[in-house]
């Protein structure tokens, strides 16, 4: 584990000491090397988890998320090069330092053994993200967005601290490896209901659950591209990962307590997908589609069956890659047209055909086309929820249809039709952008050949 943590920490001094024309090259190449190291953790043992030390471990749930996190850092750096090109050198280095700090904290979060360490790092990831959103965002609404992001997540996770300390006092340990054997079933008293709520609310806000999702469209829209990528791809999955870890301690209260959140997720899925159909802002559309996909993960985690957990992990990885790719595509539009309005830059297929190919593939992945892992995840979750209760198929089916509708709406509005004639002098696609899209798409397509890796 130190093999990954120390190189990531050392990326920061390397950035500060590089020559000005080498900062991007150095950081991108070295972060790619770190991600190749993390691929070795995917080789998991059969029944047990890989334990590295008292503090760090990785098991089939956290290993794909770890690889996703490390894979995303070079992609974020590649995507940020263009909008930072006009800044001073110090600010560029500061930006890379923020991204690297966030990466370091995320790596440690996904492999933490002690739940208190997980909590501390979970909170610590908020700070670099807040700095990235409020300092380097583009509109004046970014301050409001940062405020919403910070305080929603903090309010949700403060009870979690209390709950974790209480569990430490009663059970004696919060080490994840031990507590999975020591967890006693808890009864449904009022205090246990509050304990359940305290544990879960932090992750519900992070996921986000439908009623508490207000921070997400603001934060995603106002963040710069790397901020959007890391938010959509990794930070939301922190919530899912935390929920999966903490539900071990909370049986069988979950059977009764899960109902309100299941209702919010199921209905929220349909509602946020429908909102997507009426959006004018491209990034806002992708942000709401993130809420919709994560609501599926919430449903899967609350049902707590083997298939639903497999579906949830597959869906998390698939959504991470797809959503990040869609944000990169939206950013490539934004850099040329300087506006996020969808109808402003139409008919891009005639002007940038290769980018249209990436748009098509990303949209097809987003609407869960077979045989991508998006479909595998969604299918497992739908099947598990069908066995939970037959009627959920109505809402799930509606959601899948509306997902297809808004994804195709986004594709057709930006790519097809007659192009608006004032965009005929935009820059052609840079190789960097094409490489970015390829690096997003390649893991996604390769994983459809071997989904066992992400099925946890």
């Amino acid at each position: 584990m130190l093999k990954i943590i120390i190189p990531t920490a050392m990326l920061m001094p390397m950035t500060w000491m590089s020559k000005p024309n080498m900062i991007w090259i150095n950081s991108t190449i070295y972060s790619l090397l770190i991600s190749l190291i993390s691929l070795s953790y995917l080789n998991q043992l059969g029944d047990n988890s890989l334990n590295f030390s008292l503090l760090f471990f990785s098991d089939p749930l956290s290993a794909p998320l770890l690889v996703l996190t490390t894979w995303l850092l070079p992609l974020m750096l590649m995507a940020s090069q263009s909008h930072l090109s006009k800044e001073t050198l110090t600010r560029k280095k500061l930006y890379i330092t923020m991204l690297t700090t966030l990466q370091l904290l995320l790596i440690m979060t996904f492999t933490a053994t002690e739940l208190i360490m997980f909590y501390i790092l979970f909170e610590a990831t908020l700070i670099p993200t807040l700095i990235i959103i409020t300092r380097w965002g583009n509109q004046t609404e970014r301050l409001n967005a940062g405020l919403y992001f910070l305080f929603y997540t903090l309010m949700g996770s403060l009870p979690l601290l209390v709950a974790l300390l209480y569990i430490q006092n009663t059970t004696g340990t919060l080490n994840f490896l031990i507590i999975q054997y020591w967890a006693k079933p808890i009864s449904t008293t009022w205090s246990n209901i509050f304990l359940w709520l305290a544990c879960m609310m932090a992750f519900m806000v992070k996921m986000p659950l439908y009623g508490l999702h207000l921070w997400l469209p603001k934060a995603h829209v106002e963040a710069p591209i790397a901020g959007s990528m890391v938010l959509a791809a990794v930070l939301l999955k922190l919530g899912g990962y935390g929920m999966m870890r903490i539900t071990i301690l909370l049986n069988p209260t979950t059977n009764q307590m899960a109902y309100p959140f299941m209702m919010l997720s199921l209905w929220g899925m349909v509602m946020t997908s429908s909102i997507c159909l009426r959006q004018t802002d491209l990034k806002s559309l992708i942000a709401y589609s993130s809420v919709s996909h994560m609501a599926l993960v919430i449903v899967a985690v609350l049902i707590q069956t083997p298939w639903s957990y497999m579906g949830a992990t597959a869906l998390m990885i698939a959504h991470g890659l797809t959503s990040s790719m869609l944000f990169c595509l939206a950013n490539s539009n934004y850099e040329r047209v300087h506006s996020r309005t969808m109808i402003l830059a139409r008919g891009l297929q005639t002007i940038l055909p290769l980018m249209a190919a990436w748009w098509l593939l990303a949209s097809l992945a987003n609407l869960a086309l077979p045989p991508t892992i998006n479909l595998i995840g969604e299918l497992f979750v739908v099947m598990a929820s069908f066995s939970w209760s037959n009627m959920t198929i109505i809402l799930m089916g509606t959601n899948i249809i509306i997902t297809a509708l808004y994804t195709l709406y986004m594709l057709i509005t930006t790519q097809r039709g007659k192009h608006t004639h004032h965009i005929k002098n935009i820059n052609p696609s840079f190789t960097r952008e094409n490489a970015l899209m390829t690096l997003h798409l390649l893991p996604l397509l390769l994983l459809s050949l071997n989904p066992k890796t992400v099925l946890g």
Binding site: I248, N255, T280, S284, P306, W307, M391, H422, L455
Partner: protein
């Protein structure tokens, strides 16, 4: 000479020169038409100046579009007021369905749990229940070889 009755069709709209209503408009209407024409031509002149400017690099901003997107995306809440219509819509689509689906799922799940418990605890169906655990345990063994998170427990034997 009297005008023949020209009717517009689906692919051919009636031009204003063939429309008899065009010829007896009041002077105020004429003045309004002239003002609108002045505004349109000023906007078109500005647009064409920017469009044909060789040193322009980037797109031409349309202030109407900017106002429209701002109104649709960022200016909604300051203009929101709880009226009977909006509260009815909010309750109907936001809160009502949550309770509705709660009752639907609760009745469905109760029926399922009741049926399952009836089968597991009755003596009449016990012989069937000897075969089913055998099959289910074989299936579960097979599935758990690929399922590595073996500590999640669910209280009902479904997969």
């Amino acid at each position: 000479m009297s005008f023949p009755k020209y009717q517009p069709s689906r692919l051919a709209t009636l031009p204003s020169t063939l429309d008899p209503a065009e010829y007896d408009v009041s002077p105020e209407a004429r003045k309004a038409q002239a003002e609108r024409l002045a505004i349109r031509s000023r906007l078109k002149r500005e647009y064409l100046l920017q469009y044909n400017d060789p040193s322009r690099r980037g797109l031409i901003e349309d202030p109407a579009l900017i106002r429209w997107t701002y109104a649709r995306s960022a200016n909604i809440y300051p203009n929101f007021r709880p009226t009977p219509k909006t509260s009815l819509l909010g309750a109907l689509f936001g809160i009502g369905p949550l309770f509705f689906w709660y009752y639907v799922f609760k009745t469905d799940r109760n029926r399922k749990i009741f049926k399952l418990e009836r089968i597991t605890t009755s003596t009449q169906y016990r012989r069937i229940f000897y075969v089913i655990p055998g099959i289910t345990s074989w299936v579960c063994l097979h599935a758990s070889c690929e399922w590595k998170l073996s500590t999640q427990q669910s209280s009902l034997p479904y997969y």
